[in-house]
């Protein structure tokens, strides 16, 4: 059984710079984090994810709403009384102390003995591959090493909640991939609860149990990585998650001859048998009329039937082909794990399987259906 460890209750943050318009960084953000869970706050720069994290840590005041950690309201407490550990995006190591001293400082003030302290520092250092720089000063090590030291300093703490702000942004891709696994294992083994801020989807997908997608201060969707990918709650989440991004087409729906027809502009019509959609969904689509279709690149098939399009790029990335093609309603990207031989300038047929079709309401972007089933 899991318990709610952290409760964010309609938290808002408004910055009011002098002589300038107020900035609403976070708007009515509500979210429950279960004990032992890793939650990623995912969004592009300036979406409010770091502001949210800093409010939890106590470096920013909460304009409105409440934050509860282990049942006690912490949003009015000073950072020292919140019992959270944080790894900072800018590392923020103490310059006069060595990496070892930096990592040991918090434990030392908690009264941990010398032997145990060394043991813990060394174990975390091994995990993060920074054993060889423990006696160096922050100014003499690389950014990637500083970042790992800063991450180590946060992970070593015994705290109710661990906040990790872009903890691996400075690392090389290979090391990042290795550390993701180790850090997740470390957090799960010790049953820590962590909130991770990142703009890297791969990191969020690999580390987090649940992802909170943010945009412009609003929580767009909070769900498991799988659900967010398969059933995006709105157009923003649909296009933000996934690389390359989802193909998007604006269309108008029409029922004709037992086919549901999606008019993409004036020249292209996608036809699906009406039986592929439930009666309710059909009615809803016909009622809304203007919808936005989304198809993930890996679901776009190059075949003999379908809409014809002209290929303008074909890249083989070593393990997958990215084919970009233009047709009357716009351009489309198709990803396949087989090597595709088509060349630039050739005409291909593209097919959008109904089982992979995401349909959004064009007016407000909310999801109407995924794969022919209501959202």
């Amino acid at each position: 059984m899991s318990n709610v460890l952290l409760k964010l209750d309609s938290v808002s943050k408004t910055y009011r710079p002098l002589r300038r318009d107020p900035v609403h960084a976070v708007r009515h953000f509500s979210l429950d984090v279960q004990d032992g869970q890793i939650v990623a706050l995912l969004g592009s720069s300036g979406c409010g994810k770091t502001s949210m994290l800093r409010m939890i840590a106590g470096f920013e005041t909460v304009t409105n709403g409440a934050i509860e950690l282990k049942g006690r309201a912490i949003h009015t407490l000073p950072p020292a009384k919140r019992n959270v550990a944080m790894a900072f995006e800018g590392y923020s190591l103490y310059p006069p102390l060595t990496v070892h001293e930096n990592m040991a400082l918090a434990l030392k003030s908690q009264g941990v003995g010398r032997v145990e302290l060394d043991e813990q520092v060394n174990s975390i250092a091994r995990l993060l591959e920074i054993e060889n720089i423990l006696n160096k000063y922050p100014s003499s090590i690389s950014a990637g090493q500083q970042q790992r030291a800063s991450l180590g300093r946060a992970l070593i703490r015994r705290a109710d909640l661990h906040l990790l702000d872009e903890p691996m942004g400075q690392l090389e891709p290979q090391l990042r991939a290795v550390l993701r696994g180790r850090i997740k294992h470390f957090i799960k083994e010790r049953q820590l609860t962590a909130i991770l801020v990142t703009h890297d989807q791969t990191e969020a997908n690999a580390l987090a149990d649940r992802i909170a997608v943010m945009e412009d201060g609003n929580l767009q969707q909070f769900d498991t990585p799988e659900t967010i990918k398969a059933r995006p709650a709105n157009l923003f989440t649909g296009t933000f998650i996934g690389e390359p991004p989802m193909n998007i087409f604006h269309s108008e729906v029409e029922l004709n001859d037992q086919f549901l027809k999606f008019h993409l502009g004036t020249d292209v019509v996608l036809r699906f048998p009406e039986s592929a959609f439930s009666a309710d969904l059909r009615d809803q689509l016909l009622n809304v009329r203007k919808v936005t279709l989304g198809v993930r690149p890996y679901a776009v098939r190059l075949s003999d039937v379908g809409v014809s399009a002209e290929v303008y790029a074909n890249q083989w990335l070593g393990d997958q082909s990215h084919v970009a093609a233009r047709f009357a309603a716009g351009s489309v990207i198709s990803v396949s794990h087989d090597r595709v031989s088509t060349k630039e300038g050739e005409t291909v047929c593209i097919e959008f399987p109904v089982t992979d079709l995401h349909i959004f309401d064009t007016r407000d972007g909310s999801a109407i259906s995924h794969g022919g089933k209501p959202a």
Binding site: A80, K81, M86, F88, Y91, L93, P95, P96
Partner: protein, 285 residues
């Protein structure tokens, strides 16, 4: 890295030598003067050949100024003591008030904070003479004219803005997250200020303190108007050498050498510390 030709190195050395000579010559000349009698100093053309004498220093330490026409008491050592009391006192007070204030201005943006900081800086805008007259009246009414307390207070006009603005810049250069990291580890703001912010800003505080000390030491006008003979610092005390029977250049030179000695020693000491502090630095990631 760029390599310099021999000629470039040589020209560079020459340029540095000229600059050093230009700035050091007055001090060198003063030192020479302090070991000469008024007669050898004033001869024409001036010459660097003379028989050194320590009579000027003897006169200052003895507290008696003997010229060829008269003899009078001088309190130069007393002045030196006053200078030390006033400068050390005012820098200490300014550090005590200015460093926490600088931290507050750097870390906490509150309504009017810039205005207050600017007001403090504006103390340096007005010429001292402008404020001296009303200040004298106030000080006499308050009974603090001609006291160390009053003088140290007035010296804050020099020291406090200087320390506040220099140290504020140093605090602002320390990333706030370094302090945040310490605070999340269970430490209050005062412990963070003391254990993290203060040590990191120490080179800046030392530089500001040194600068404030030099400005306070060199101040002339406040003490001239607000202090009587027994509270006067060396800058005002040196006027005693301008006597009715002529200017005692030899003794003035000796007095100058003695009065620059403390600041010079402090600067040399602090310089070593400054370099140490800065090389630790690299505060920015």
């Amino acid at each position: 890295m760029r390599h310099h030709t021999v000629l470039e190195t040589w020209l560079r050395g020459l340029a540095i030598a000229v600059i050093v000579l230009f700035f050091m010559f007055p001090i060198f000349w003063i030192v020479l003067m302090s070991f000469q009698t008024n007669e050898t100093i004033l001869r024409s053309p001036p010459s660097m050949a003379f028989v050194p004498t320590i009579s000027n220093y003897e006169a200052i330490f003895a507290g008696r100024l003997d010229s060829n026409v008269a003899s009078m008491d001088i309190k130069f050592l007393g002045n030196l003591g006053n200078s030390i009391i006033l400068s050390v006192g005012s820098v200490a007070v300014a550090l005590l008030l200015g460093v926490p204030a600088a931290y507050a201005f750097a870390r906490h943006k509150f309504r009017g904070s810039e205005d207050i900081a600017f007001t403090l800086l504006s103390f340096r805008f007005a010429p001292p003479l402008l404020v001296l007259l009303p200040l004298t009246t106030y000080f006499q009414a308050l009974g603090i004219a001609d006291t160390y307390f009053g003088l140290i207070w007035v010296y804050q006009l020099i020291c406090l803005p200087l320390i506040l603005w220099i140290v504020r810049g140093y605090f602002e250069d320390i990333p706030a997250d370094i302090e945040h990291a310490y605070r999340t580890a269970g430490h209050g703001w005062f412990a963070t200020f003391r254990k993290i912010a203060l040590p990191l800003a120490m080179p800046g505080i030392a530089a500001a303190g040194l600068l404030a000390f030099i400005f306070a030491w060199n101040n002339f006008i406040f003490a001239l108007v607000l202090a009587s003979a027994d509270k006067q610092p060396v800058t005002v005390g040196a006027l005693a050498f301008v006597t009715a029977s002529g200017i005692q250049y030899g003794q003035i030179a000796a007095a100058v050498v003695l009065s620059i000695a403390p600041t010079l020693m402090l600067a040399l000491y602090a310089q070593r510390y400054l370099v140490e502090g800065l090389s630790l630095g690299a505060v920015k990631g």
